[in-house]
Symmetry: C2
Subunit: 154 residues, 2 copies
């Protein structure tokens, strides 16, 4: 915990993202690499859901993709934004803007909305109705975009 900036820690704890076993043993480089892995894997699963909505709808594939997105969203990725992860480290680049670390209340709000949207998508995906998934999928996309537009450089 002591490795986290106080303001960041407060924001993360409010989200239930912090604990003694967090990023304590991870270098800034590792934290950036792992959070990018999480976003990349969610992106793949978003792509699969999109393809299903635009083509033949495979309910089982959509359900597993939505579960992966929700589980990653709920895994406490806030812990991967520790000190030193606000800019490139070694060969590891990051597109996060400095504003991310300066607006933790807003980040917390946006992250909470994303988690809610991801959970809602997983719920409707389990029911197998493509139209409901389409709406919930759009909500997740909007929640992703809300953070990207404010806190991710192009």
């Amino acid at each position: 915990m002591k490795q986290l900036l106080a303001s960041t820690a407060a924001g993360l704890m409010a989200l239930g993202l912090a604990s003694s076993a967090l990023a304590a043993d991870l270098s800034p480089e590792e934290q950036i690499e792992i959070r990018q892995a999480g976003y990349e894997f969610m992106g793949w699963n978003m792509g699969k859901i999109k393809a299903n909505l635009e083509g033949n709808y495979n309910a089982a594939q959509v359900e597993s993709a939505a579960n992966a997105i929700a589980a990653i969203a709920n895994s406490g990725m806030g812990a991967l934004y520790g000190p030193g992860t606000d800019k490139a480290v070694g060969d590891m680049k990051t597109r996060v803007k400095p504003e991310f670390f300066e607006n933790m209340d807003d980040v917390k709000k946006i992250a909470g909305e994303f988690v809610e949207a991801a959970n809602a998508l997983a719920e409707v995906a389990a029911e197998g109705e493509a139209e409901a998934v389409k709406a919930a999928f759009a909500d997740v996309g909007a929640a992703c975009k809300a953070c990207h537009q404010k806190y991710r450089a192009n």
Copy 2:
């Protein structure tokens, strides 16, 4: 589907990993990148569970970590081993051995055991008993290792 080698496709379909919306639009480089992202993110969550078992046990953190591992394990990563992903592509390296693609029945069996172990870990993690989690965690570790030893270069 037609982009997949027949033998690989048969193995993946038996695992329920194949569908029309699979890796069709992903380059070999993207497939390698995404599968590595999945393993990396699972590795982070394995590390969190390990830290919890060795230190203060936070049941909520262990549960969310186990859910992330299980959801990723169930997301159909077999689709990320399409043609051309058996060796480095551009700057994207891979440690997968050629034997992986030559023993799809065995890979299918090992992958199935990994998914089962990950699901079992998620189940016991939800119950919050550290001792049960410890045993299920060891099973997941063994399932990871079973593949690494045979099909991953050092």
